[in-house]
């Protein structure tokens, strides 16, 4: 009996370790995808360059590795749920993780498709193509992002080395992965609840507030105020006005 008990405890502990690993991987995946989004947002702008494209590829490859590893592990985790007796909280945690993973994958898939469209619209194969890039006023500030991506650590990064696919295959692969995952594991989305209440993230980030940015980014909704006032020529004070036209 005690042996069984011990094995169950070991199993539970192992399980929880496993779960923690997956959660860390999930965080990493979030980080990678958000960096990816920032990079993709610069595609086609004046900050676009071959360096950017390379960075995008690398980030994508990293995300792919994390994705595939995480999907396997989560599958194992959830299928193990069915076989062994597990506490309700554990099961709920796994299911939540599952749902979050699927959300991330969906989001990432959208970003990939946008990236594909943009790369198709703004090819950088020749030097003349640089003329078609849109001037957004952004200079090359993506080194920091690249560094951030490089800092991401995944538990199994060293263990598994797969060749990273090109963009189209990646998209196709992700789509099939999504549909497969949704079919194989019957997890009810609505049963998962958020761990934190609404508005909680406000208190979470104690970073420097960037107040000056806010003044700049005040958007005057043109319909409410009279458009005459918006177009007044020079603003004497220290505030800056931003008006959207067009």
């Amino acid at each position: 009996m005690s042996r069984w008990r011990r094995s169950v405890d070991e199993l539970t502990a192992g399980r929880q370790r496993y779960q923690k690993e997956c959660e860390r991987a999930q965080n990493a995946l979030s980080r990678v995808t958000s960096c990816f989004q920032q990079l993709v947002a610069s595609l086609g702008s004046s900050a676009d360059s071959s360096y950017l494209r390379e960075e995008i590829d690398e980030t994508r490859a990293l995300a792919h590795r994390i994705c595939s590893g995480l999907s396997h592990r989560l599958l194992r985790l959830l299928s193990a749920c069915d076989s062994a007796p597990i506490a309700v909280e554990d099961r709920q945690a796994s299911e939540r993780l599952w749902v979050l993973f699927l959300s991330v994958v969906e989001n990432f898939l959208c970003e990939l498709q946008k990236a594909k469209d943009l790369i198709g619209q703004f090819p950088l194969t020749q030097r003349s193509n640089r003329c078609s890039l849109v001037n957004t006023g952004c200079t090359d500030g993506l080194v920091g992002l690249a560094a951030r991506v490089a800092l991401v650590q995944v538990p199994w990064l060293v263990l598994e080395e797969e060749p990273s696919p090109n963009l189209t295959d990646h998209i196709a692969g992700l789509e099939s992965l999504l549909s497969e995952l949704q079919q194989r594991v019957p997890v009810a989305f609505w049963s998962v609840e958020a761990t934190q209440p609404a508005w909680a993230e406000v208190l979470s980030d104690p970073d420097d507030p960037d107040d000056s940015l806010e003044d700049i980014m005040e958007v005057e909704v043109v319909s409410n105020s009279r458009s005459r006032n918006n177009m007044s020529a020079c603003c004497p004070g220290k505030c800056c006005r931003l008006s959207c036209v067009g």
Partner: protein
């Protein structure tokens, strides 16, 4: 909309942002372009709101807060992901250089302002309906396509053309007429509310205002359409017509408009109501339209649809336009209105007053309220609707043998001449119609009886087929006047002299002589037969020929009882013979051109 301008106006003294120079025009990064037509996901919006929440420490705009709560509720299962992603994106954005970060944040904000507009703003992404086909797409060259091209070119050839000088002349005339009334081109008295925020102009020009402005009254003189389309003008015109006892025309026209623009459910009843009130024999407000139109209308009313009364309505419209409108403009009613019309003084607001006006802006009366008021008014008017034709005729006494008047009189002396209508109206006992028409055309009648000449007066019909036949002209006038033909024909046809002089009264035909009744289906309005049920109090000019077989039945039914609509009765309407006056069936007539006139009459 490929891009959004994002115009920055920076102060150079802001040390943090010296990277961006003053007033540079920047474009949005293609990632945020609406033309990409990528789906705008709520998930992304939730992430954006969470990010903004972090940045602004919980101080979001009201609609953003609502959206946030809404999304938190509906995306609760992935809320952890959303928050995590928001945090990560926030931190990732921090890795960029500050000017770039500002730019990106502004662009993202602009993107979401477009795709999730704040309430009360016009959505920038609104656009109309998609067309069924894309006009820029290459059309496949199928036989169907060629057929359509052929039809199109054939129709282009057949289209009527106008010389450009004529059309330009019309445009010039229009501009010259209306330029003084255009608020863009000339001053708007007292002041243009859009410019000065003072709504006096609108209050002075409301629908049911007592005293109109001079400009408004002047516009009524431009064209009949202007008069009718202005509610106040229409009221004035209605008053005038009431005085002339021809208000039924306008009422009929309005009824037709109501039918045309009303809901489909009410159409059938409206059509019936209009028929009973205006078109049927013995109708309380009978209108005077010619036989052909009446025939078409009644035939159409068997299967009523929205435009069934169109022919009659056009007829009446042209009648009012050619006849009543001119008289209205010379009438005392109009002159009175013109005299009383006000000409407001121009406002001269200074800056302070303008600002005050802007602050005191109030919403106007809700259109729902206005519509309700209009409906109430209409109901009130309908309740007090005048019965235009009074019951003064002495033929109201129920004398059965006087009931029927055939269009073809017996006396042989008259058979040689074309049959002319004996009408129930005589100078002895004029119906209000004839009174109305007579009062204004008395002079003309005098003129014509004295001269007997077929001179065209100013109010000759605008038809194209006017021959100068005196007979024709007088018959037209006859119909309009409703006066006895006697005086007319006395001067015109010696053959009818005897009959004419003797027939200062109506010649009654015994009802037991149906053999002389003309064949049924006679659309010719000159061949007038009047069938008057004894109890009926009105003697309209009847151009339709409800024949004898109908008569006994109708006499029992029609009268004090409900007027039977032709599609309800079991009458057999198809005639066999045709009189010499009738048009060849199947030939479509241009009613406007031949409204008063039949060229065939010239033959006799």
């Amino acid at each position: 909309m490929k891009w959004l301008f994002v115009v920055f106006i920076f102060l150079e003294s802001d040390k943090n942002l010296t990277g961006l120079s003053l007033c540079s025009l920047l474009f949005q990064t293609p990632y945020f372009w609406p033309t990409q037509q990528w789906p705008v996901e709520d998930t992304d919006y939730a992430i954006y709101l969470a990010k903004r929440n972090i940045r602004k420490k919980g101080i979001l705009e009201l609609h953003e807060q609502e959206q946030y709560n809404h999304l938190h509720k509906w995306m609760n299962h992935k809320w952890d992901f959303i928050v995590m992603q928001a945090k990560e994106q926030y931190r990732a954005a921090k890795e960029r250089k500050k000017p770039d970060r500002v730019v990106f944040d502004c662009q993202e904000r602009a993107y979401w302002v477009v795709h999730r507009p704040p309430p009360g703003t016009v959505s920038a992404m609104d656009y109309g309906l998609d067309r069924r086909t894309d006009p820029n797409a290459d059309e496949t060259q199928t036989p169907d396509c060629y057929e359509r091209i052929m039809i199109f070119t054939q129709q282009s050839i057949m289209r009527p053309r106008v010389k450009s000088s004529v059309s330009i002349g019309a445009l010039v005339k229009y501009c010259a007429t209306y330029s003084g009334h255009d608020p863009f081109l000339s001053k708007c008295l007292p002041s243009n509310p859009w410019l000065t925020d003072d709504s006096t102009f609108w209050t002075l020009n409301m629908h049911n205002v007592e005293i109109p402005t001079k400009m408004r009254v002047e516009r009524w003189t431009f064209s009949f359409k202007e008069l009718l389309s202005d509610p106040r003008g229409r009221d004035d015109f209605r008053l005038f017509l009431k005085k002339e006892f021809s208000g039924e025309n306008l009422a009929f026209w309005e009824g037709c408009e109501d039918l045309k623009w009303g809901t489909a459910v009410t159409m059938r009843e409206k059509a019936e109501q209009i028929y009973k009130t205006f078109l049927a024999r013995g109708a309380p407000r009978w209108i005077n339209i010619d036989g052909k139109t009446m025939e078409i209308t009644v035939k159409g009313l068997k299967h009523p649809h929205r435009y069934v009364l169109d022919a009659a309505q056009t007829h009446i419209y042209m009648l009012m336009k050619k006849d009543s409108y001119g008289r209205y403009l010379k009438s005392p009613v109009f002159k009175e209105t013109l005299k009383k019309a006000i000409c407001p003084e121009e406002h001269k607001f200074n800056e302070v007053q303008l600002e005050q006006n802007a602050r005191n802006r109030r919403p106007s009366l809700s259109p729902i309220v206005i519509r309700q008021q209009e409906q109430e008014q209409r109901a009130k008017m309908a309740a007090n609707a005048p019965v235009d034709i009074t019951q003064l005729c002495r033929f109201t006494t129920p004398v059965p043998h006087l009931a029927v008047y055939s269009g073809i009189p017996d006396p042989p002396s008259v058979t040689a001449s074309p049959s002319f209508p004996f009408l129930a109206h005589t100078p002895v006992c004029p119906s209000p119609i004839s009174v109305a028409l007579d009062s204004t055309s008395a002079s003309e009648r005098r003129l014509e009886t004295s001269e007997g000449e077929g001179n065209m007066e100013a109010r000759a019909p605008d038809g194209g087929n006017l021959s100068k036949s005196r007979m024709a002209l007088s018959l037209r006038r006859l119909l309009k006047r409703g006066c006895s033909p006697s005086a007319m024909f006395a001067s015109l046809s010696p053959k009818c002299h005897t009959a004419a002089t003797a027939s200062s009264r109506i010649q009654p035909i015994m009802p037991d002589e149906p053999s002389h009744a003309p064949p049924r289906r006679i659309g010719n309005f000159f061949h007038i037969k009047v069938d008057i049920p004894p109890e009926c109090r009105i003697y309209p000019i009847e151009s339709e020929d409800e024949d004898e077989e109908n008569r006994p039945a109708s006499r029992d039914r029609v009268g004090t009882e409900e007027i039977i609509c032709p599609w309800e009765s079991l009458s057999r309407q198809n005639g066999t013979g045709m009189s010499q006056w009738e048009e060849t069936p199947g030939k479509t007539q241009n009613l406007l051109e031949r409204q008063y006139f039949r060229s065939t009459l010239g033959a006799s």
